[in-house]
């Protein structure tokens, strides 16, 4: 979360500097420099908006945790791996360091959580929209069956998806 906020604030500062520079160049009639710095400010503004939206999504995930794993590995369907110190699995997505997978926040036509399988080691998730489906596995770190059943119950309540439990 801190990382998202820090990045957003950095871009905000760069954007303000860009605007100030543009104004200074414009007032000194350095039109080319003003144009370049204006364009730069515009690009920074777009990035800033994107960062702000990412921070908002991260906040939403952070506010609705179902399972928090202190150290985890996430494996994507194409075999890509990420490691993170803290992973939050929530009603609206996964937050892993600076990586976000989100679902269930854009209505019926957005990305939806489709299926969940919990085995002894990992949670296997499938989510996506009409165009694309992504499969992700993550280490859950749960050793107690009751904890798994609690997570299953919570998932059903919050997301409407009934998690399958295997190997317990």
């Amino acid at each position: 979360m801190k990382e998202f906020r820090k990045r957003r604030d950095c871009y905000a500062v760069f954007f303000v500097i860009g605007i100030v520079l543009t104004l200074i160049f414009a007032m000194n009639l350095m039109l080319v420099a003003a144009f370049i710095s204006g364009m730069g400010s515009f690009i920074l503004f777009i990035i800033l908006v994107r960062q702000h939206l990412l921070l908002r999504d991260a906040n939403l995930i952070w506010d609705n945790p179902i399972l928090t794993v202190s150290s985890s590995i996430i494996i994507k369907s194409e075999g890509k791996k990420w490691e993170a110190e803290k992973t939050i699995f929530s009603t609206f997505g996964i937050l892993m360091g600076s990586k976000i997978y989100k679902w269930g926040s854009e209505g019926v036509h957005g990305v939806r959580l489709k299926s969940i399988l919990i085995d002894r080691e990992r949670i296997h998730l499938t989510f996506g929209d009409l165009k694309k489906t992504i499969c992700v596995e993550m280490l859950h770190g749960m050793a107690d069956k009751q904890a798994v059943l609690d997570v299953q119950k919570r998932l059903l309540y919050e997301t409407g998806v009934s998690a399958m439990i295997s190997g317990w």
Partner: protein, 471 residues
């Protein structure tokens, strides 16, 4: 006996306010008495007129922030009317700085007095009767204004001024005898109602009022001076079409489709400005232009006055809502007045004035369907939510389950929906469910998407339809 007393209170409240309003219309708010006195002393009038309108706008707008209880409303109304009375006295004497100061003070105090009546309208008029009380107030005040105008123009402006001050005194007497103990329950009553939110519809209504009233401002500054040579006719006929339109609208059946009249009103405004452009400046031309213009004003004024009257039920502070609505009207008159003064000063041809007015009408036409939808939904939703609150849990659940969705709601979304239907705000839902406000907003967005609707108002209306089919 109690019913008789309630009717009496309502009549006293309506007549008391009508007398105050007659004072405003005949003197303070571009009234003929003021114009006559300024003309009598050969004083340039635009500074006085603008100062009074700006002060009146400020009074109307700010009153709701200060007056927050029935007792305060009553005494604010009385003291403000008293201030108006004192501030009018300098007009019996030769022009001095007291004239402008008096006009500013009475304009501001007049705004306070008018806005404070919001409490009385809410307390003494039953919910579905407010359109009648509003119509009565506008009709009575305009009839009194015509009488004062005729006296001021044909006899003496000072007798006219005395009469308008007498209106104030009589109005104060009637407001004074109104009991205030009956209104103590208003806050509890309002708090038990549902918070669908009238802010957005009120803002839309204010915008509509501002835009439509620009035409009135233009009328004051452009049309009226063009017929100034017909003083004998204009002094009494000016508000007659307005009163007639109010009387017709007042006596329409409650089931009648009033929105059609709004479009008729638009056509009348267009007709008025086109006639002004094409016709001459004799008496018959005046009758045509004034009948169309003031008739339309009557239709629109009663429309937004009655909507504000209905909205008073859903607010804890009727003074604020009433004052805000009326201040939008005054602001519109001010904007129209500024446009009108500019038009008059550069001596724009009447064809171009008509184009400006028609542009305003076109903007209003664009706004009208959206505004109507918003207002109808807000009023319908309150009716629905009131009946929803009286249902058993199983009936509530059945309504939700029976309504078709694109995708089944999750248990959490059903929980959030129940709270939405109980009229809670996002913040209240978040506090009840121990989740963040942002989370509630996300769930609400998902719910709307699953019901394939675009707003909470539409969601409630969808469920309303289902409720009538179910029970």
């Amino acid at each position: 006996m109690i019913q008789f007393k309630t009717i009496n209170d309502r009549i006293f409240s309506v007549i008391g306010f009508s007398l105050l309003f007659a004072y405003l219309l005949s003197f303070l708010f571009e009234g003929q008495v003021l114009y006559s006195i300024l003309a009598y002393h050969d004083v340039h009038d635009s500074t006085y007129i603008v100062a009074a309108i700006v002060a009146h706008f400020a009074g109307l707008f700010s009153c709701g922030y200060l007056v927050k209880s029935p007792i305060m409303a009553k005494y604010t109304m009385l003291s403000s009317m008293g201030v108006c009375l004192i501030a009018t006295v300098p007009y019996f004497f030769a022009p001095s700085a007291l004239w402008l100061a008096g006009l500013i003070v009475s304009g501001y105090a007049g705004g306070f007095a008018v806005a404070s009546w919001g409490y009385f309208l809410k307390a003494y008029t039953p919910k579905n009767e407010r359109i009648k009380s509003c119509a009565d107030v506008l009709i009575y005040s305009n009839i009194i204004m015509i009488a004062v105008n005729v006296v001021a123009i044909n006899l003496s402006p000072f007798i006219g001024l005395t009469l308008s001050m007498f209106c104030l005194v009589a109005g104060m007497a009637l407001i004074w005898i109104l009991p205030i103990d009956k209104q103590e329950g208003w806050r509890e009553e309002t708090e038990s109602k549902f918070n669908v939110g009238i802010k957005k519809p009120l803002m839309m209504l204010c915008l509509f009022v501002v835009v439509i009233t620009i035409n009135s401002g233009l009328m004051y500054q452009v049309i009226n001076p063009a017929f100034e040579h017909l003083k004998e006719l204009t002094s009494w006929y000016w508000a007659v079409p307005y009163i007639a339109a109010l009387a017709i609208m007042r006596n329409l059946s409650m089931k009648a489709n009033r929105s059609i009249f709004l479009y008729v009103g638009m056509a009348m405004i267009m007709g008025a400005f086109i006639s002004f452009m094409l016709l001459g400046r004799n008496a018959s031309d005046y009758l045509v232009v004034d009948t169309l213009m003031l008739g339309a004003c009557g239709i629109f004024d009663l429309f937004w006055w009655s909507i504000i009257g209905e909205m008073l039920d859903y607010t804890e502070n009727p003074v604020k809502v009433f004052g805000t609505g009326l201040s939008a009207n005054v602001f519109g008159v001010l904007c129209g007045g500024v446009v009108g003064m500019a038009v008059t000063s550069i001596q724009l041809p009447s064809a171009e004035v008509a184009v400006i007015a028609l542009t305003v009408v076109c903007v209003t036409l664009v706004m009208l369907p959206t505004l109507n939808r918003q207002l109808v939904m807000v009023l319908k939703n309150h009716v629905y939510l009131a009946s929803y609150d009286n249902m058993s849990m199983s009936q509530k659940a059945e309504i939700i389950q029976r309504t078709k969705t694109l995708e089944e709601l999750t248990a959490r979304e059903q929980e959030v929906l129940q709270h939405i239907l109980s009229g809670k705000s996002n913040r209240e839902i978040a506090e009840t469910l121990f989740i963040s406000e942002n989370t509630v907003k996300t769930h609400a967005r998902n719910i709307l998407s699953k019901y394939d609707v675009s707003s909470r108002a539409e969601l409630i209306s969808t469920l309303l339809k289902n409720q009538s089919e179910t029970f």
